[in-house]
Point group: C2
Chain length 211, copies 2
Amino acid sequence: MRMSELSSRSGLAIATIKYYLREGLLPQGRPLAATRADYDESHLRRLRLIRALLEVGRLPIASIKQIISAVDDDSLPTHVMLGVARHALSAAVAPEPGDDWSEAEHDAERLIAAQGWRIGRRAPARAELVQTLHRLRQLELSTDLGHHAELAHRLVTEIEIPSVTPDGPRDSTVESVVLGTVLYGKAFDALRRLAREAAEAEVSLSTAPDA
Amino acid sequence: MRMSELSSRSGLAIATIKYYLREGLLPQGRPLAATRADYDESHLRRLRLIRALLEVGRLPIASIKQIISAVDDDSLPTHVMLGVARHALSAAVAPEPGDDWSEAEHDAERLIAAQGWRIGRRAPARAELVQTLHRLRQLELSTDLGHHAELAHRLVTEIEIPSVTPDGPRDSTVESVVLGTVLYGKAFDALRRLAREAAEAEVSLSTAPDA
DNA sequence: CATCGGTGGATACTAGCACTATCCAAACCG
DNA sequence: CGGTTTGGATAGTGCTAGTATCCACCGATG
Protein backbone atom coordinates (compact mmCIF):
# COMPACT_ATOMS: atom_id res chain seq x y z
CA MET A 1 0.00 0.00 0.00
CA ARG A 2 1.02 3.62 -0.42
CA MET A 3 1.67 6.25 2.18
CA SER A 4 -1.78 7.76 1.80
CA GLU A 5 -3.48 4.43 2.43
CA LEU A 6 -1.28 3.79 5.45
CA SER A 7 -2.30 7.20 6.69
CA SER A 8 -6.03 6.72 6.23
CA ARG A 9 -6.06 3.19 7.62
CA SER A 10 -4.06 4.14 10.70
CA GLY A 11 -5.80 7.44 11.23
CA LEU A 12 -2.45 9.23 11.47
CA ALA A 13 -1.35 12.25 9.45
CA ILE A 14 1.22 11.59 6.74
CA ALA A 15 3.58 14.02 8.44
CA THR A 16 3.35 11.96 11.62
CA ILE A 17 4.15 8.74 9.80
CA LYS A 18 7.13 10.39 8.16
CA TYR A 19 8.24 11.47 11.60
CA TYR A 20 8.09 7.88 12.85
CA LEU A 21 10.06 6.77 9.79
CA ARG A 22 12.70 9.38 10.55
CA GLU A 23 12.89 8.32 14.17
CA GLY A 24 13.28 4.68 13.20
CA LEU A 25 10.06 3.62 14.91
CA LEU A 26 8.59 2.46 11.64
CA PRO A 27 10.71 0.49 9.16
CA GLN A 28 11.08 1.88 5.66
CA GLY A 29 8.70 0.53 3.06
CA ARG A 30 9.97 -1.59 0.17
CA PRO A 31 11.29 1.03 -2.29
CA LEU A 32 9.70 0.89 -5.73
CA ALA A 33 11.33 4.02 -7.11
CA ALA A 34 12.97 7.17 -5.85
CA THR A 35 9.62 8.59 -4.83
CA ARG A 36 7.56 5.51 -4.16
CA ALA A 37 7.59 2.75 -1.60
CA ASP A 38 5.33 -0.09 -0.66
CA TYR A 39 4.00 -0.66 2.87
CA ASP A 40 2.16 -3.70 4.15
CA GLU A 41 0.15 -4.95 7.09
CA SER A 42 3.21 -5.18 9.28
CA HIS A 43 3.66 -1.43 9.00
CA LEU A 44 0.06 -0.89 9.97
CA ARG A 45 0.44 -3.16 12.98
CA ARG A 46 3.61 -1.38 13.99
CA LEU A 47 1.77 1.93 13.92
CA ARG A 48 -0.94 0.48 16.14
CA LEU A 49 1.74 -0.77 18.53
CA ILE A 50 3.31 2.69 18.65
CA ARG A 51 0.02 4.42 19.30
CA ALA A 52 -1.00 1.95 21.97
CA LEU A 53 2.26 2.48 23.85
CA LEU A 54 2.05 6.24 23.33
CA GLU A 55 -1.61 6.94 24.10
CA VAL A 56 -2.52 4.20 26.53
CA GLY A 57 0.88 3.65 28.10
CA ARG A 58 1.96 7.30 27.86
CA LEU A 59 5.46 6.16 27.02
CA PRO A 60 7.74 8.78 25.49
CA ILE A 61 8.76 8.24 21.88
CA ALA A 62 12.33 7.65 23.00
CA SER A 63 11.30 4.70 25.18
CA ILE A 64 9.18 3.24 22.42
CA LYS A 65 12.18 3.49 20.18
CA GLN A 66 14.32 1.56 22.65
CA ILE A 67 11.77 -1.22 22.75
CA ILE A 68 11.44 -1.36 19.00
CA SER A 69 15.19 -1.27 18.45
CA ALA A 70 15.63 -4.18 20.82
CA VAL A 71 12.93 -6.13 19.02
CA ASP A 72 14.46 -5.42 15.64
CA ASP A 73 17.98 -6.33 16.73
CA ASP A 74 18.18 -10.05 16.05
CA SER A 75 21.54 -10.41 17.74
CA LEU A 76 20.08 -9.82 21.21
CA PRO A 77 19.07 -12.90 23.20
CA THR A 78 15.41 -12.87 24.10
CA HIS A 79 15.92 -12.38 27.84
CA VAL A 80 18.15 -9.37 27.22
CA MET A 81 15.54 -7.95 24.92
CA LEU A 82 12.92 -8.39 27.63
CA GLY A 83 15.19 -6.61 30.07
CA VAL A 84 15.54 -3.67 27.72
CA ALA A 85 11.80 -3.59 27.22
CA ARG A 86 11.06 -3.70 30.94
CA HIS A 87 13.53 -0.90 31.51
CA ALA A 88 11.92 1.24 28.85
CA LEU A 89 8.49 0.71 30.36
CA SER A 90 9.40 2.53 33.56
CA ALA A 91 9.94 6.18 34.13
CA ALA A 92 13.30 7.08 35.61
CA VAL A 93 13.11 7.68 39.35
CA ALA A 94 15.59 9.95 41.09
CA PRO A 95 16.25 8.89 44.68
CA GLU A 96 15.69 11.61 47.29
CA PRO A 97 18.23 10.76 49.93
CA GLY A 98 16.99 10.97 53.49
CA ASP A 99 15.54 8.84 56.24
CA ASP A 100 12.17 8.47 54.56
CA TRP A 101 13.83 7.15 51.46
CA SER A 102 15.85 4.48 53.25
CA GLU A 103 12.79 3.39 55.18
CA ALA A 104 10.89 3.14 51.92
CA GLU A 105 13.66 0.95 50.52
CA HIS A 106 13.31 -1.37 53.45
CA ASP A 107 9.55 -1.46 53.09
CA ALA A 108 9.95 -2.46 49.46
CA GLU A 109 12.49 -5.09 50.37
CA ARG A 110 10.14 -6.65 52.89
CA LEU A 111 7.24 -6.69 50.44
CA ILE A 112 9.28 -8.41 47.76
CA ALA A 113 10.74 -10.93 50.18
CA ALA A 114 7.33 -11.70 51.63
CA GLN A 115 6.08 -12.66 48.18
CA GLY A 116 9.16 -14.72 47.48
CA TRP A 117 9.92 -12.81 44.31
CA ARG A 118 13.39 -12.90 42.86
CA ILE A 119 13.97 -9.45 41.42
CA GLY A 120 17.01 -7.93 39.78
CA ARG A 121 18.80 -5.45 42.00
CA ARG A 122 18.20 -2.50 39.74
CA ALA A 123 14.77 -3.41 38.45
CA PRO A 124 13.07 -0.15 37.50
CA ALA A 125 9.74 -1.28 38.97
CA ARG A 126 11.46 -1.61 42.32
CA ALA A 127 12.54 2.02 42.18
CA GLU A 128 9.02 3.09 41.37
CA LEU A 129 7.72 1.14 44.32
CA VAL A 130 10.27 2.79 46.59
CA GLN A 131 9.33 6.22 45.30
CA THR A 132 5.67 5.58 45.96
CA LEU A 133 6.34 4.24 49.44
CA HIS A 134 8.46 7.30 50.10
CA ARG A 135 5.59 9.60 49.17
CA LEU A 136 3.14 7.59 51.25
CA ARG A 137 5.44 8.02 54.23
CA GLN A 138 5.84 11.74 53.69
CA LEU A 139 2.07 12.15 53.58
CA GLU A 140 1.52 9.90 56.56
CA LEU A 141 -0.57 7.37 54.71
CA SER A 142 -0.40 3.65 55.31
CA THR A 143 2.58 1.91 53.75
CA ASP A 144 1.15 -1.51 54.41
CA LEU A 145 0.86 -2.92 50.92
CA GLY A 146 0.92 -6.60 51.82
CA HIS A 147 -2.57 -7.22 50.54
CA HIS A 148 -1.86 -5.30 47.38
CA ALA A 149 1.23 -7.43 46.77
CA GLU A 150 -0.75 -10.56 47.44
CA LEU A 151 -3.43 -9.63 44.95
CA ALA A 152 -0.89 -8.49 42.36
CA HIS A 153 0.80 -11.85 42.67
CA ARG A 154 -2.44 -13.72 42.15
CA LEU A 155 -3.47 -11.50 39.24
CA VAL A 156 -0.23 -12.22 37.46
CA THR A 157 0.25 -15.90 38.20
CA GLU A 158 -3.35 -17.02 37.96
CA ILE A 159 -4.68 -14.81 35.21
CA GLU A 160 -2.11 -12.97 33.15
CA ILE A 161 0.75 -15.41 32.77
CA PRO A 162 -1.35 -18.41 31.71
CA SER A 163 -2.78 -16.39 28.84
CA VAL A 164 0.61 -15.56 27.34
CA THR A 165 1.86 -17.76 24.53
CA PRO A 166 5.63 -17.78 24.90
CA ASP A 167 6.26 -19.59 21.63
CA GLY A 168 6.14 -18.01 18.21
CA PRO A 169 8.44 -15.43 16.64
CA ARG A 170 10.49 -13.30 18.96
CA ASP A 171 8.86 -10.02 18.04
CA SER A 172 5.47 -11.35 19.06
CA THR A 173 6.95 -12.51 22.37
CA VAL A 174 8.11 -9.04 23.29
CA GLU A 175 5.01 -7.51 21.87
CA SER A 176 2.83 -9.64 24.06
CA VAL A 177 4.95 -8.99 27.14
CA VAL A 178 5.11 -5.26 26.53
CA LEU A 179 1.52 -4.86 25.45
CA GLY A 180 0.38 -7.14 28.24
CA THR A 181 2.15 -5.00 30.80
CA VAL A 182 0.93 -1.72 29.39
CA LEU A 183 -2.59 -2.50 28.24
CA TYR A 184 -3.70 -4.84 31.00
CA GLY A 185 -2.06 -2.50 33.49
CA LYS A 186 -4.09 0.39 32.22
CA ALA A 187 -7.21 -1.73 32.03
CA PHE A 188 -6.82 -2.81 35.64
CA ASP A 189 -6.27 0.77 36.71
CA ALA A 190 -9.45 1.90 34.98
CA LEU A 191 -11.38 -0.98 36.54
CA ARG A 192 -9.97 -0.13 39.94
CA ARG A 193 -11.08 3.48 39.61
CA LEU A 194 -14.52 2.37 38.51
CA ALA A 195 -14.74 0.06 41.51
CA ARG A 196 -13.77 2.94 43.77
CA GLU A 197 -16.36 5.21 42.23
CA ALA A 198 -19.05 2.59 42.72
CA ALA A 199 -17.92 1.85 46.26
CA GLU A 200 -17.79 5.51 47.25
CA ALA A 201 -21.29 6.05 45.86
CA GLU A 202 -22.49 3.21 48.09
CA VAL A 203 -20.87 4.76 51.12
CA SER A 204 -22.33 8.20 50.61
CA LEU A 205 -25.76 6.67 49.96
CA SER A 206 -25.60 4.85 53.24
CA THR A 207 -24.12 7.62 55.36
CA ALA A 208 -25.92 10.64 53.89
CA PRO A 209 -29.59 10.31 55.00
CA ASP A 210 -30.75 12.47 52.10
CA ALA A 211 -29.82 15.63 50.26
CA MET B 1 8.46 30.02 58.26
CA ARG B 2 10.04 31.97 55.44
CA MET B 3 10.29 31.18 51.77
CA SER B 4 13.83 29.89 52.10
CA GLU B 5 12.88 27.45 54.83
CA LEU B 6 9.87 26.26 52.83
CA SER B 7 12.25 25.72 49.94
CA SER B 8 14.84 23.74 51.88
CA ARG B 9 12.29 21.64 53.74
CA SER B 10 10.38 20.76 50.58
CA GLY B 11 13.45 20.33 48.43
CA LEU B 12 12.00 22.63 45.79
CA ALA B 13 13.66 25.70 44.29
CA ILE B 14 12.30 29.04 45.40
CA ALA B 15 11.48 29.85 41.79
CA THR B 16 9.36 26.72 41.61
CA ILE B 17 7.46 27.62 44.76
CA LYS B 18 6.84 31.09 43.39
CA TYR B 19 5.52 29.45 40.24
CA TYR B 20 3.06 27.38 42.27
CA LEU B 21 1.98 30.52 44.12
CA ARG B 22 1.38 32.27 40.80
CA GLU B 23 -0.61 29.33 39.49
CA GLY B 24 -2.75 29.23 42.60
CA LEU B 25 -1.62 25.74 43.59
CA LEU B 26 -0.16 26.99 46.82
CA PRO B 27 -2.06 29.55 48.93
CA GLN B 28 -0.32 32.81 49.74
CA GLY B 29 1.45 32.97 53.03
CA ARG B 30 0.23 35.27 55.80
CA PRO B 31 1.65 38.66 54.78
CA LEU B 32 3.85 40.30 57.41
CA ALA B 33 4.99 43.20 55.31
CA ALA B 34 5.29 44.16 51.67
CA THR B 35 8.22 41.84 51.20
CA ARG B 36 7.66 39.20 53.83
CA ALA B 37 5.13 36.47 54.42
CA ASP B 38 4.78 33.61 56.81
CA TYR B 39 4.23 29.99 55.70
CA ASP B 40 3.33 27.06 57.89
CA GLU B 41 3.06 23.28 57.90
CA SER B 42 -0.04 23.37 55.73
CA HIS B 43 1.99 24.95 52.95
CA LEU B 44 4.60 22.26 53.26
CA ARG B 45 1.99 19.55 53.14
CA ARG B 46 0.39 21.17 50.11
CA LEU B 47 3.74 21.11 48.35
CA ARG B 48 4.11 17.43 49.12
CA LEU B 49 0.62 16.82 47.77
CA ILE B 50 1.48 18.66 44.56
CA ARG B 51 4.70 16.74 44.06
CA ALA B 52 3.05 13.40 44.74
CA LEU B 53 0.37 14.07 42.15
CA LEU B 54 2.95 15.43 39.72
CA GLU B 55 5.75 12.90 40.03
CA VAL B 56 3.96 9.75 41.03
CA GLY B 57 0.62 10.40 39.36
CA ARG B 58 2.10 12.27 36.39
CA LEU B 59 -0.84 14.64 36.49
CA PRO B 60 -0.41 17.90 34.59
CA ILE B 61 -0.27 21.06 36.67
CA ALA B 62 -3.59 22.14 35.19
CA SER B 63 -5.33 19.05 36.56
CA ILE B 64 -3.73 19.46 39.95
CA LYS B 65 -5.01 22.98 39.95
CA GLN B 66 -8.55 21.81 39.26
CA ILE B 67 -8.38 19.44 42.20
CA ILE B 68 -6.97 22.05 44.52
CA SER B 69 -9.44 24.68 43.45
CA ALA B 70 -12.29 22.30 44.15
CA VAL B 71 -10.87 21.51 47.58
CA ASP B 72 -10.43 25.18 48.40
CA ASP B 73 -13.91 26.14 47.22
CA ASP B 74 -16.03 25.72 50.34
CA SER B 75 -19.27 26.30 48.49
CA LEU B 76 -19.04 22.99 46.63
CA PRO B 77 -20.81 20.02 48.20
CA THR B 78 -18.41 17.20 48.96
CA HIS B 79 -19.76 14.81 46.33
CA VAL B 80 -19.41 17.46 43.63
CA MET B 81 -15.86 18.07 44.75
CA LEU B 82 -15.12 14.37 44.50
CA GLY B 83 -16.56 14.34 40.99
CA VAL B 84 -14.29 17.19 39.97
CA ALA B 85 -11.33 15.41 41.50
CA ARG B 86 -12.11 12.14 39.78
CA HIS B 87 -12.45 13.95 36.48
CA ALA B 88 -9.11 15.64 36.91
CA LEU B 89 -7.43 12.32 37.67
CA SER B 90 -8.13 10.96 34.20
CA ALA B 91 -6.57 11.90 30.95
CA ALA B 92 -9.00 13.03 28.29
CA VAL B 93 -9.80 10.26 25.82
CA ALA B 94 -10.88 11.08 22.30
CA PRO B 95 -13.25 8.44 20.87
CA GLU B 96 -12.14 6.95 17.56
CA PRO B 97 -15.42 6.21 15.84
CA GLY B 98 -15.64 2.86 14.12
CA ASP B 99 -16.80 -0.68 14.69
CA ASP B 100 -13.96 -1.52 17.07
CA TRP B 101 -14.88 1.42 19.23
CA SER B 102 -18.55 0.50 19.54
CA GLU B 103 -17.62 -3.08 20.34
CA ALA B 104 -15.26 -1.82 23.00
CA GLU B 105 -18.07 0.26 24.50
CA HIS B 106 -20.22 -2.83 24.72
CA ASP B 107 -17.39 -4.81 26.29
CA ALA B 108 -17.03 -2.11 28.93
CA GLU B 109 -20.75 -2.04 29.54
CA ARG B 110 -20.80 -5.78 30.10
CA LEU B 111 -17.88 -5.68 32.52
CA ILE B 112 -19.46 -2.93 34.59
CA ALA B 113 -22.84 -4.63 34.63
CA ALA B 114 -21.31 -7.96 35.60
CA GLN B 115 -19.77 -6.38 38.69
CA GLY B 116 -23.00 -4.62 39.55
CA TRP B 117 -21.31 -1.23 39.62
CA ARG B 118 -23.39 1.89 39.33
CA ILE B 119 -21.26 4.29 37.31
CA GLY B 120 -22.02 7.78 36.06
CA ARG B 121 -22.64 7.84 32.33
CA ARG B 122 -19.67 10.04 31.54
CA ALA B 123 -17.25 8.73 34.12
CA PRO B 124 -13.75 9.37 32.78
CA ALA B 125 -12.51 5.99 33.97
CA ARG B 126 -15.13 4.38 31.76
CA ALA B 127 -13.74 6.18 28.71
CA GLU B 128 -10.25 5.00 29.58
CA LEU B 129 -11.49 1.45 29.86
CA VAL B 130 -13.16 1.74 26.47
CA GLN B 131 -10.00 3.13 24.92
CA THR B 132 -7.93 0.29 26.29
CA LEU B 133 -10.43 -2.33 25.13
CA HIS B 134 -10.39 -0.69 21.72
CA ARG B 135 -6.62 -1.01 21.49
CA LEU B 136 -6.74 -4.61 22.69
CA ARG B 137 -9.20 -5.39 19.91
CA GLN B 138 -7.13 -3.64 17.26
CA LEU B 139 -4.09 -5.66 18.30
CA GLU B 140 -6.04 -8.90 18.51
CA LEU B 141 -5.38 -9.46 22.19
CA SER B 142 -7.89 -10.90 24.58
CA THR B 143 -10.55 -8.47 25.76
CA ASP B 144 -11.73 -10.80 28.46
CA LEU B 145 -11.18 -8.74 31.59
CA GLY B 146 -13.69 -10.44 33.83
CA HIS B 147 -11.07 -11.72 36.23
CA HIS B 148 -9.38 -8.36 36.30
CA ALA B 149 -12.67 -6.69 37.18
CA GLU B 150 -13.30 -9.26 39.85
CA LEU B 151 -9.93 -8.68 41.46
CA ALA B 152 -10.21 -4.90 41.17
CA HIS B 153 -13.53 -5.12 42.96
CA ARG B 154 -12.08 -7.17 45.77
CA LEU B 155 -9.02 -4.95 46.07
CA VAL B 156 -11.19 -1.89 46.49
CA THR B 157 -13.97 -3.23 48.69
CA GLU B 158 -11.92 -5.49 50.91
CA ILE B 159 -8.68 -3.57 51.22
CA GLU B 160 -8.75 0.03 50.09
CA ILE B 161 -12.15 1.32 51.17
CA PRO B 162 -12.02 -0.01 54.74
CA SER B 163 -8.79 1.90 55.33
CA VAL B 164 -10.26 5.26 54.36
CA THR B 165 -11.55 7.48 57.12
CA PRO B 166 -14.44 9.40 55.59
CA ASP B 167 -14.88 11.72 58.56
CA GLY B 168 -12.71 14.70 59.34
CA PRO B 169 -12.34 17.97 57.46
CA ARG B 170 -13.34 18.06 53.84
CA ASP B 171 -9.89 18.73 52.48
CA SER B 172 -8.54 15.60 54.09
CA THR B 173 -11.43 13.62 52.61
CA VAL B 174 -10.54 14.62 49.08
CA GLU B 175 -6.88 14.31 49.80
CA SER B 176 -7.30 10.75 50.94
CA VAL B 177 -9.50 9.86 47.98
CA VAL B 178 -7.21 11.49 45.45
CA LEU B 179 -3.99 10.31 47.01
CA GLY B 180 -5.46 6.87 47.54
CA THR B 181 -6.37 6.62 43.90
CA VAL B 182 -3.05 7.90 42.65
CA LEU B 183 -0.55 6.46 45.10
CA TYR B 184 -2.08 3.06 45.71
CA GLY B 185 -2.73 2.81 41.99
CA LYS B 186 0.89 3.40 41.23
CA ALA B 187 1.96 1.08 44.01
CA PHE B 188 -0.20 -1.71 42.69
CA ASP B 189 1.14 -1.18 39.19
CA ALA B 190 4.72 -1.42 40.40
CA LEU B 191 3.89 -4.55 42.39
CA ARG B 192 2.20 -6.04 39.36
CA ARG B 193 5.25 -5.43 37.20
CA LEU B 194 7.49 -6.94 39.85
CA ALA B 195 5.24 -9.99 40.00
CA ARG B 196 5.46 -10.31 36.22
CA GLU B 197 9.21 -10.03 36.28
CA ALA B 198 9.45 -12.73 38.92
CA ALA B 199 6.97 -14.95 37.11
CA GLU B 200 8.70 -14.57 33.75
CA ALA B 201 12.04 -15.42 35.34
CA GLU B 202 10.49 -18.63 36.65
CA VAL B 203 9.19 -19.52 33.23
CA SER B 204 12.47 -18.99 31.42
CA LEU B 205 14.32 -20.92 34.12
CA SER B 206 12.03 -23.86 33.60
CA THR B 207 11.88 -23.77 29.79
CA ALA B 208 15.45 -22.76 28.94
CA PRO B 209 17.64 -25.87 29.62
CA ASP B 210 20.71 -23.70 30.05
CA ALA B 211 22.52 -20.84 28.36
C1' DC C 1 3.22 13.68 -24.61
C1' DA C 2 2.18 17.00 -21.26
C1' DT C 3 0.85 17.69 -16.80
C1' DC C 4 -0.93 17.12 -12.33
C1' DG C 5 -1.28 15.20 -7.98
C1' DG C 6 0.79 11.97 -4.68
C1' DT C 7 5.56 10.72 -2.99
C1' DG C 8 10.37 10.48 -0.47
C1' DG C 9 13.58 13.21 1.80
C1' DA C 10 15.41 17.18 4.09
C1' DT C 11 14.85 21.14 6.93
C1' DA C 12 12.54 24.35 9.64
C1' DC C 13 8.99 25.62 12.46
C1' DT C 14 5.31 25.15 16.19
C1' DA C 15 2.60 24.51 20.65
C1' DG C 16 2.38 23.16 25.16
C1' DC C 17 4.39 22.21 29.48
C1' DA C 18 7.03 22.90 33.70
C1' DC C 19 9.84 25.33 35.15
C1' DT C 20 14.13 29.17 35.54
C1' DA C 21 16.20 33.48 35.37
C1' DT C 22 16.36 38.24 35.89
C1' DC C 23 15.06 42.49 37.67
C1' DC C 24 13.25 45.71 41.03
C1' DA C 25 12.22 47.91 45.24
C1' DA C 26 11.10 47.12 49.90
C1' DA C 27 12.52 45.30 54.29
C1' DC C 28 14.95 42.77 57.66
C1' DC C 29 19.27 41.46 60.23
C1' DG C 30 23.42 42.23 62.45
C1' DC D 1 24.04 51.23 57.32
C1' DG D 2 25.04 47.67 54.07
C1' DG D 3 24.44 43.09 52.50
C1' DT D 4 20.91 39.54 51.98
C1' DT D 5 16.12 37.98 51.47
C1' DT D 6 11.79 38.51 49.87
C1' DG D 7 7.44 39.45 47.00
C1' DG D 8 5.99 40.45 42.59
C1' DA D 9 6.33 40.86 37.67
C1' DT D 10 8.10 39.53 33.20
C1' DA D 11 10.75 37.07 30.07
C1' DG D 12 13.28 33.12 28.64
C1' DT D 13 14.58 27.97 28.65
C1' DG D 14 14.67 22.98 27.28
C1' DC D 15 12.17 19.25 25.99
C1' DT D 16 8.62 16.61 23.49
C1' DA D 17 5.76 15.36 19.72
C1' DG D 18 4.58 16.54 16.18
C1' DT D 19 3.50 20.13 11.64
C1' DA D 20 4.67 22.68 7.69
C1' DT D 21 7.18 23.75 3.72
C1' DC D 22 9.96 22.89 -0.07
C1' DC D 23 11.91 20.25 -3.65
C1' DA D 24 12.63 17.02 -7.29
C1' DC D 25 10.60 13.08 -9.11
C1' DC D 26 7.54 9.67 -10.88
C1' DG D 27 3.54 7.44 -12.66
C1' DA D 28 -1.12 7.39 -14.19
C1' DT D 29 -4.62 10.35 -17.03
C1' DG D 30 -6.43 12.50 -20.66
